[in-house]
């Protein structure tokens, strides 16, 4: 029995369709950024760019105040005070239901409701799987690269205290510019199908500094920036390879023979 989208070609089963996976198929341990779509009895429904809405159980969140106790009827009634429809959260996949829906949890201080910032929705296939998905970029902003393709950009938190609870100070113009530039860089990288992780985003940011933020989205400038980014990659990787053997020569078939000092001016 062969499924849809296949055909038999000389006794071999061949696929007749090809393409990029647009939906997110989560696994246990994935970090996701999601939006609350419904508040139900003892749980929230979260949109995570997958076939089915994910589930965030009331028992899987940290109660505001941080107490550890059994959830009461009152907790159930005040669910909407904590998370409403439209709110954004960062969470981790705890388990997968039999129908494929994900069960999320925010039982760690780094997860929870997200405050002021910008959400960028991209394809999940472009997010690289890494040890950590939370990064404080040196350019002056923080980023959460959700495995489901939702990327959250927000200003650096200078004090250790957790964001949302109290009054949030207004964000400075400089921080806003960094976040807008990062957002446009993410869109530029996505348009050229570049894998997204902290280093690629950072290189793209640096390559874009010569242009104005709003110009980054023009197709010609997008291409130029992504080209510069891939050049920086080459430089970095080649440096690592060549520097590990500093006394060796590099032979380029078209350009000739070089030493490490000749290739990189700052050595």
């Amino acid at each position: 029995m062969r499924g849809h989208g296949t055909y038999v070609d000389e006794e071999k089963l061949t696929a007749s369709v090809a393409g990029e996976v647009q939906e997110f198929n989560g696994e246990v341990g994935d970090v996701v950024v999601g939006r609350i779509t419904e508040v139900q009895q003892k749980r929230w429904k979260v949109e995570t760019n997958s076939r089915l809405d994910s589930v965030l159980l009331l028992s899987a969140v940290n109660l505001p105040g941080g107490e550890l106790r059994r959830r009461s009827a009152e907790d159930e009634l005040t669910m909407r005070e904590y998370l409403q429809e439209g709110d954004l959260i960062s969470a981790e996949v705890q388990s997968v239901f039999s129908d494929g829906a994900l069960s999320l949890h925010t039982r760690s201080l780094k997860y929870g409701k997200l405050g002021q910032g910008v959400l960028v929705q991209l394809s999940p296939s472009l997010i690289k799987r890494q040890k950590t998905h939370f990064h404080n970029l040196p350019c002056g902003a923080s980023i959460i690269l959700g495995n489901n393709g939702f990327v959250w950009l927000y200003p650096l938190q200078h004090n250790r205290k957790r964001k949302l609870e109290a009054f949030t100070p207004p964000i400075s113009l400089a921080d806003r510019e960094v976040i807008s530039r990062l957002r446009n860089c993410l869109l530029a990288l996505t348009a050229h199908k570049v894998l997204l992780y902290d280093t690629s985003v950072l290189y793209c940011y640096e390559s874009s500094l010569q242009h104005q933020v709003k110009d980054i989205l023009k197709p010609e400038i997008m291409e130029e920036i992504v080209l510069l980014t891939s050049k920086s990659f080459w430089n970095m990787k080649a440096r690592k390879a060549i520097l590990s053997f500093p006394k060796h020569f590099v032979i380029c078939n078209c350009c000739g023979i070089f030493t490490a000092e000749m290739l990189f001016d700052d050595l």
Partner: protein, 291 residues
Amino acid sequence: MATVQVSEAEKVYILHGIRDDLRVDGRGCEDYRHMEIETDVVSNTDGSAKVTLGHTAVLVGIKAEIGKPRPMFPGEGYLEFFVDCSANATPEFEGRGGEELGTELSNTLYKVFNNKNSVNLKSLCILKGEHCWVLYVDVLLLQCDGNLYDAISIAIKAALFNTKIPKVHISSDEEGSKEIELSDDPYDCMRLNVENVPCIVTLCKVGHRHVVDATLQEKACSVASLVMAVTQKGTVTCLRKVGGGSLDPESVFEMTETGKRVGKALHAPLMSLLQQEEKLGKSRQKVGFLG
């Protein structure tokens, strides 16, 4: 129109950003997104244009047919508008979902063009009281990412510029009845003067300031918008308020001033672009829908 959900914290971020004249994508309050215009994309129309503004894509096709003039205006032709919100644009337009929006857009277009200066309707007359050209302007929404009015009006202006109406000769035969003959040469046609065709500028009030070319997220933070049609000279042909919120008279005045300024600035680059495209003639590489 398509709506997106935005959290309260995101709304605050967007609001403060607009207040500081730095929107989420780095634009100022009066900047448009990247716009792409291409004319002559549909071969079996008399004029067509496709406009992409950010992710909003609009296709306009114009067909010229001979019809009877309106009883009130026997010496003029007229325009008929029809806007089709295709289900391709957003799932909300599935089935009959897009009908309400389509009728609202068509009605606004009728209002915008309901004056004697926008299009020279007298040039569309063939025989007073008997025959005239009727231009059927069909607008198709391919993708919806905010700011439909602006994209549609620019596409209509480009399509009208591109429209080629065949020249007709009226001859009367022996019995005195008139006959209309279309000339044999397919390139013998009349072009329309689109200098006074207005462009629509939508201004969304977000907080205490207003923005031009709002994205869906910015639209979710605004309660009221002003839709105004501005000609090259700065004349306003139509002013409409949309949205459930209220606007006080001073904001309306400020917004109309901004709209006039932005609208006037749209026309010159648009006309020069259309003329440049026309000059390329047959050698132009057509991008069409797959580019």
